[in-house]
Symmetry: C5
Subunit: 344 residues, 5 copies
């Protein structure tokens, strides 16, 4: 890592290869206009300051575009750096004329990997900028809602749009963490009986990493979102506070589930270790039972292999047969005894 | 999960199939009137604003009724959504003209399952709305008390009724968490000796889940109820504060018991794992004792099976009998030794 | 548990069968008068409002007496309920004209059981009421001190008497928790070597329960007593603050010892589990050593039991004797080897 | 423990048998005078109120002296009690005309025992009283510094002397806790390989107790010393604040090291238990390897002990020799195999 | 450790042997001048008070130089002591005319050792003093940036330079703690399967110590840096606050990673212990399997070694061969059975 205060050059250090493209949604109560483009100049002319202008930026490759947008809306250099740094910790910052939110979004892949991408939101009086590393259909429902003016979304201020976007983010967190919780509970059930499933160790680790990543993304919001709720920013209107409290309810749910995951994980590791021990011991027990059944038999054949002059049974006609019978009976008694005691 | 800020449609996402029905209890010092119905129109006419009107709503199926009641009392859309979302986290919210409480109630089933249902309470100046997912006799004692004007309940304000309802909720929590605590202590006693009871693992898990659910439902109240106690809401009268402090005492009891359950559970998991190990080892020990008793005997029969020319005892008349006697004695000495050492 | 806000009936739900009796100690600088009785009317006439009147109530059976006293001193109904509920959590409450303290006292029985009883104290300007479930000599030293006017106790206000009573309570806690701490340390010493003492599991559990009970009784005081110290109640005189700070010092000692017990208990459970494992393994090891000593011997007798035509040693005169000598030597070498390695 | 608010009698309950003796160091910028004695009357005449008078009291046996000093400087009765109670928790108390500090000092004995003694300091405008249970050279460096007027100590107020004394106390804590930390780290290194050292269990317990004692002595200072730093006491001069901040730096170091000890101890107990298990298992493994090497050999001698009529090798001239060779080869292969697998 | 308030002598107690040398960088918007020297007199003449003067001091051997610089800039004696004490805890202190920061820098060596050195920074209105124990290229990028006036660094105040230096420190922490985190995750992956790698114990301990050292260095900043951010020091200009918030973002990242390391370490120790157990048990299991395969064979040879008169198979021509065949078959069945059950 280098000192980012000593560089005038902006670089995107993430791995996404999505080419940068823009989508402007400019609306007021009566009208919605949408424009797309691969350069800021494609849409700049369509920004109308008497409307709410929502610019979606997908793909962080083309840094010049992001710098231009930043300059247009007077976003400072450090904030642009944060947007381009995909490992930036979660934060909510109040600036004089806008709010900056750096958040994480998760997407579960088939192989149980969580794909993380950074979502940065800048909310000003009449604009919202959202920066996503990849393409994504995340906000399609919001676009549709604006087109259809659902719940009079078009007559409300930019902070209402912000609360709607945050609600989408929270839904994302809820889905992920609920999946982690369910996977943990399912593993807990399996670990209560002796199981030879070898994938549980890997699964626990996978879940633990998912839990850690979500926790890292969400935990800082606990304090920072409360601070936002209590702030007297003129960008958050009193009439829209209720929506932010609704977002907060979702956040509380996510935080509670994270805490539950923490407790479950901790007891799960204990159970996993104990289960491994038990499985191993179970095998040992079975092997030992086999030995223990044969031990009296080996003793008996030893007895009849002794060289005493006078051993009457050795001379019997059916001595050998009787010996086999006795040994079979002794073997079965042992087997039955261990079966009854549930040791086998 | 979807973005609930983008939908004008209200839906109940829970599993209860109780048909929505209403019960209005309208009272003042001199009179109590009760009305039931399956539509809001059945009871709307009987609401008298100079009395305390308590409307019980059981069953969340019929969303229209709930919306109508919400409209009648000016409850905002997001609160109605919260009432209909059975997984909403516990919360106490102060609105301008009413308080909203979203709580959970638990009911222990025969199979040790906890049935959870959501109870939402809205308290305004002259009304209390309670929303329950299922039918339930939970508040029957309150109805009876109002009918009999016990403790002059009818002359007091709506916040007194709220404190009485909350007291019922706390009694519910106390009963559940005390049962969990007792079950944990009983398991702890059993685990102090080696036990082969195979149900303890399941029981611990069941208790842990119950504990988690109660904790999740109650813990948020710790902070939020204190805030309510300290608020200067005009809906909470000074003369009734003592009743809320009484509710708080019960809440403290529940919170302390939750904490005790946490500590007990943690030591219980350790004991359970240790007990499993000990039981397995105990079996191994017994098997090994059997082997160890036979080992000198097998050695002895080997000795007398050797082919040395001159082995005097082999020629004795009672040599074979003597051999058996020696072996039986050696066997018994071994058995007695292990018995004395308490290894068997 | 029932809803205590819906009942006009007071009931004592504890188990103590001590008949209610009263003891009034009324004093001023120059005089002490003591009166006993089984009804409030027996002593009511002797209450003098220009003196400090300390009424001790022992036994909660006769609820009428308690209600009468409550009425006489204007104690509200909920407080009386709290006094009669022996499971009420610890609390310190400031009312307008008096302080209410609900505390627990412990008494160690011979069988290591802790007997808990509730002590409620109400302190007003010129009176102190103490409610104890059982008889008890707890406050005898205070009575003696008043009689002898030790430290000019009779010239001081009722809050000084309160601080003296609280000091007695703290002494009670110190004695109990110090005993728990010593018992835990003694067990820790024993568990550092392999021990077959089977009572340690039970003892740990007993100590853990004592610790839990004391913790539950004392922990709420941490915050509540600080709040009392900082309050500007006119019932607590500046000149007597030092005595309350002294009580606080004792409380801090108890809280620190509780914390130490918590840490010791946690390491004790680990040690106990480890000790059980080690003891079991130790037995296994000894058994295995026995087997291992016999294994080469059994091999040797097998060798000499082979049927090769030409095995010279079988024909020697002292072949059999030599064989025994060799086997005894081999056995002793094995024994000596394991002894030296400290495996036996 | 008794109720200390009911006794006019002062008693020293500690074990130190040092006879009480006094040392007065009275100084101003130009002059230092020192006086010793076994009675307060020996030095009282030499106290000069226009100087800083530092009275060292060693040995708590002679309670009358301590009471006289207390009376001379108007120290209240409860504070004198605290000084005489060697188990008093750590505290810093601001009184109107003086500060009272009750602290602990530790001294490591040869047998790894920590000797604890109580140090009480009372700082007034022109006096410092220090009370130590035993003799001790702890403050000799301060006496020397005063004699030599190092860093113009004689021109500074009594609070500077206090900061110097506290710095000595902190140096004491640093030395002790650093020794504990080093001992823990040394044990951790040893436990990473299988060791049969039987003293580690005892050593861990010893270190844990030392840690607990230091923690108990130091932890309360965390909060109380900060409060002292922030207080606006007229006894602490602004110009001397920097020295108290320096003391605080040392305190922070001690607190951080305590926290590190806590984490190290916790992982150490786990390692210790694991190491015990591994050592036991290692012995079992070696024994089992021995058995496993002999098992095929015993099988082979069994084979050649069979009584089949036609077994050609039995009739060979060198049959017996060949058998021994085969068995030695098989034994060596087994040994080599286990050696290669690192099982032996 | 000695009492540092009683000594007029300054000593450097660290181990670095770097000879003290100085480097002055004096700049304003238009000009940069650099001077080096081994005495303060070499550069003192070049300090220009209308510029920002940054004096780098490398090597703490020559205490006189450090004292001279301290005198020149009116740094108090205790601060100079702190700079010279390489074990001083991390702190940020606001003085009247300057800020003092005592920080730690880490450098990873090839053998996984962390080399720690202390960095002290004093920031005044027109000067920055940095004190490093060793040489180091840490701030070369800052020097270059000043020379090239990158981001107009030369036109900004001394607090901007401070934020740039702190950013370098944070980059140092990020690199170290990220390396620790990656090493922990790599070990976690390895421990999920049975591994005989003997270096993991050592590696865990190494990582734990690195984590502890970084934690100790960084954790105090959590609170102290927030306090600096909120302070109204006239030395921190409003226009530069954003840069300090950027430093804070990096600090948050480091703190979060430390927390993740803590959780990972805790589960890692459990896994390590479990893995050791499993490996040992695995060996035992394999040995026991070997025994168990041979046990029926040994029984069979015993059978055919019995001396019964009439045992038909002993007289068969191919009896011996048949016996071997039977035994080979039985052995293979055993082997195949255990293979199938995955016990071998």
């Amino acid at each position: 890592m280098k000192n980012n205060l000593l560089s005038e050059k902006l670089t995107y250090t993430g791995v996404s290869t999505t080419p940068t493209h823009l989508h402007l949604c400019s609306y007021n109560e009566s009208e919605v206009n949408e424009f797309s483009g691969f350069n800021f100049s494609d849409i700049r002319g369509n920004i109308q300051n008497d409307r709410i202008n929502w610019i979606q930026v997908n793909g962080m490759q083309n840094i010049d575009i992001i710098r231009e947008i930043g300059d247009y809306y007077n976003i400072n250099f450090l904030t642009i750096q944060d947007i381009l740094n995909p490992h930036h910790p979660t934060k909510i910052e109040e600036h004089e004329n806008h709010h900056v939110l750096v958040l994480k979004l998760f997407q579960a892949e088939k192989n149980n990997q969580l794909i993380k991408q950074q979502l940065s939101i800048i909310q000003g009086k009449n604009f919202i900028l959202t920066f996503l590393e990849n393409d994504g259909s995340l906000f399609d429902d919001v676009i549709t809602a604006i087109q259809n003016n659902i719940l009079k979304i078009r007559s409300k201020e930019s902070d209402y749009l912000l609360s709607v976007l945050l609600n989408d983010v929270m839904a994302n967190y809820r889905n992920i963490i609920t999946a982690v919780e369910e996977s943990l509970e399912e593993m807990e059930s399996r670990l209560l009986t002796i199981t030879s499933a070898t994938d549980i160790g890997i699964n626990i680790q996978t879940s633990r990493r998912q839990y850690m990543r979500v926790k890292r993304a969400v935990l800082p919001l606990k304090e920072q979102f409360s601070r936002l709720l209590l702030s007297d920013s003129k960008l958050l209107h009193k009439s829209n506070r209720a929506y932010f409290y609704d977002v907060n309810d979702h956040l509380q749910f996510v935080l509670q589930t994270i805490e539950i995951c923490r407790e479950t994980l901790s007891s799960l590791v204990d159970l996993y270790i104990s289960n491994n021990d038990l499985r191993m011991n179970d095998i040992m027990k079975r092997l030992t039972v086999v030995s223990t059944i044969f031990i009296p038999l080996t003793f008996l054949v030893g007895v009849w292999g002794m060289n005493f002059k006078i051993m009457p049974e050795l001379d019997w006609k059916y001595g050998y047969l009787t010996a086999w019978l006795i040994m079979i009976i002794v073997g079965f008694i042992g087997y039955w005894f261990f079966k009854k005691k549930k040791w086998y």
